[in-house]
Assembly symmetry: C2
Homo-oligomer: 309 residues x 2
């Protein structure tokens, strides 16, 4: 197998693009796709600071690496979820990565802020862990990024993440979620960051291959709370469809984006935001999801959590 | 496992409805679902004749059986595709079924009408077999049904067929096909039958179980030309999603139908039909798909087919 660009020995085949690359040309392809996302979708410019949500997994560390190499001013944001060994290893990967490159980062610890890890918090508020985790992460990432003067928050979501999320939304015809699924969510309120997904043009296996080639040391394990997650079922279904017809994921997600763009030109979607009466952060409800969650936690679970401490 | 209706020993579990049935209650459930489709979607009444497209497979024979039992006046339409042993067995199943019940049926043979079976015809017109077969079946079923005074054509498409077709249309965002995907297609022209799918509320395994319980003898083999069909890939993906979350197929298809109904009330979709200049049948183009196919066949493939005869 030869590289389609320079004819050197190829190390990766990309069936959906009907091509194959040697290591240098593959690396160029990966960086090009990220640049194309940033510039083509007007995600951010070099004058803006970009907060990068880093879990310690391959996607977020690859994203941070590429943004740094491209000369963007970045700040790593890591949420310590307090899930025992998994969280300790995750944070260690982030610390080693950042110190080797002299990159700044902030850690927000759930145990320090709520006296408990995400598993106990989710139990305390009677919600599935991934649901509670999503609310807490979204809220804190936004607040911390803005506190550090970063108007943009970049996450490591890749093509597989976006296509499987789209499949889940389509299987349940969730119009609200479909409307909001985009690689760029503009900041619809001064207290909100712009949210961007610069890896959305790259498949999961492309990112994993690049991480290995660049010797990026990341946590391979998935979050223990994600076992049995619907997302894995959707990814598995899409992988089977992709094997049968390479390009299925790409076509499914990119054609969806084209339709969204066409629709947005006809009737742009403006969320109806006000400020949470409890914390002042933007919300569509009187009390934001985060304050509701923390309220339930304090009301119902505090005694139990204090025992846990 | 007990029947949820009468507490007798259950023989089938229906996870998507969170229930289980004994043979008589299951049979009642199956018939009820078909009646609900016919009446709820205003498919046809007892005064109208219904042509039933019968391949000899489980779905079409189950459909024919239920419509006869419910007292509808039916006419079986079988297309002999001329695929060797497969077609001979299929037709034999239809003949045995019909004569045991004294039901009328018509056979349209491709070899008699075109001098060749569907495999050679598809090769002759350089099209995939399923594509050529679809054009030929749709055209002839419509013409033959109306020739016999039947204003309605019922096909055996089940929930799995419709959900997997929907998945294929959504993966490629085929708006034209999405708009037309419905269990009832009204006749938008006097020369067109109304097309209905009375089994759309029943899953494939429910129909197969009912066929076995009623001792309906059907051809189990799939059409040899359908090997590697995308439909099987979509069905497999949906079966995996269904295993992980029972009810996924049902919800996916039924919520889609609810959306279609809501949209149709806002802007009803009227096809722009004229009559084919060659055969006079309704078509969106100057020459209909069938006449184009037959034209190519006569022009390009006739000499070869004559040799085959």
């Amino acid at each position: 197998m030869r590289c389609r660009k320079c004819s050197a020995k190829a190390i990766i085949r990309l069936p959906r693009h009907n091509t194959a690359f040697c290591p240098p040309c593959f690396s160029e392809y990966v960086t090009d796709q990220v640049q194309r996302a940033i510039k083509g979708d007007r995600m951010f410019g070099h004058a803006e600071g970009v907060a990068v949500a880093v879990s310690g997994g391959k996607d977020s560390l690859v994203l941070w690496e590429i943004l740094s190499r491209l000369g963007y001013r970045t700040l790593g944001l890591h949420i310590d979820l307090g899930i025992g060994e998994y969280s300790r290893i995750s944070q260690r990967k982030v610390e080693v990565f950042a110190s080797a490159r002299n990159l700044p980062f902030v850690v927000h610890s759930l145990r320090e802020n709520h006296g408990a890890g995400i598993t106990e918090i989710a139990e305390g508020v009677h919600r599935p862990p991934c649901s509670a985790c999503g609310v807490i992460k979204r809220y804190n990432m936004n607040v911390i990024a803005l506190q550090h003067g970063m108007p943009v928050l970049a996450t490591g979501h890749n093509l597989d993440d976006e296509a499987s999320r789209l499949l889940g939304n389509v299987l349940h015809w969730q119009d609200d979620y479909l409307d909001k699924q985009s690689p760029v969510l503009p900041n619809s309120h001064p207290k909100l960051v712009r949210k961007v997904k610069p890896l959305y043009r790259l498949a999961e296996r492309e990112i994993a291959a690049w991480a290995v080639l660049q010797k990026i040391d990341y946590i391979v394990d998935e979050c223990p709370n994600s076992v049995g997650s619907k997302m894995f079922v959707y990814k598995d279904a899409l992988n089977r469809l992709e094997d049968a017809a390479p390009g299925t994921k790409h076509q499914f997600y990119f054609q969806f984006l084209d339709r969204q763009k066409a629709r947005a030109q006809v009737s742009p979607i403006e969320p109806d935001l006000r400020e949470c009466v409890s914390c002042g952060q933007p919300s569509t409800a009187e009390i934001c999801s985060y304050c509701k969650l923390v309220g339930t936690l304090q009301r119902e679970a505090e005694p139990a959590l204090k025992v846990l401490k």
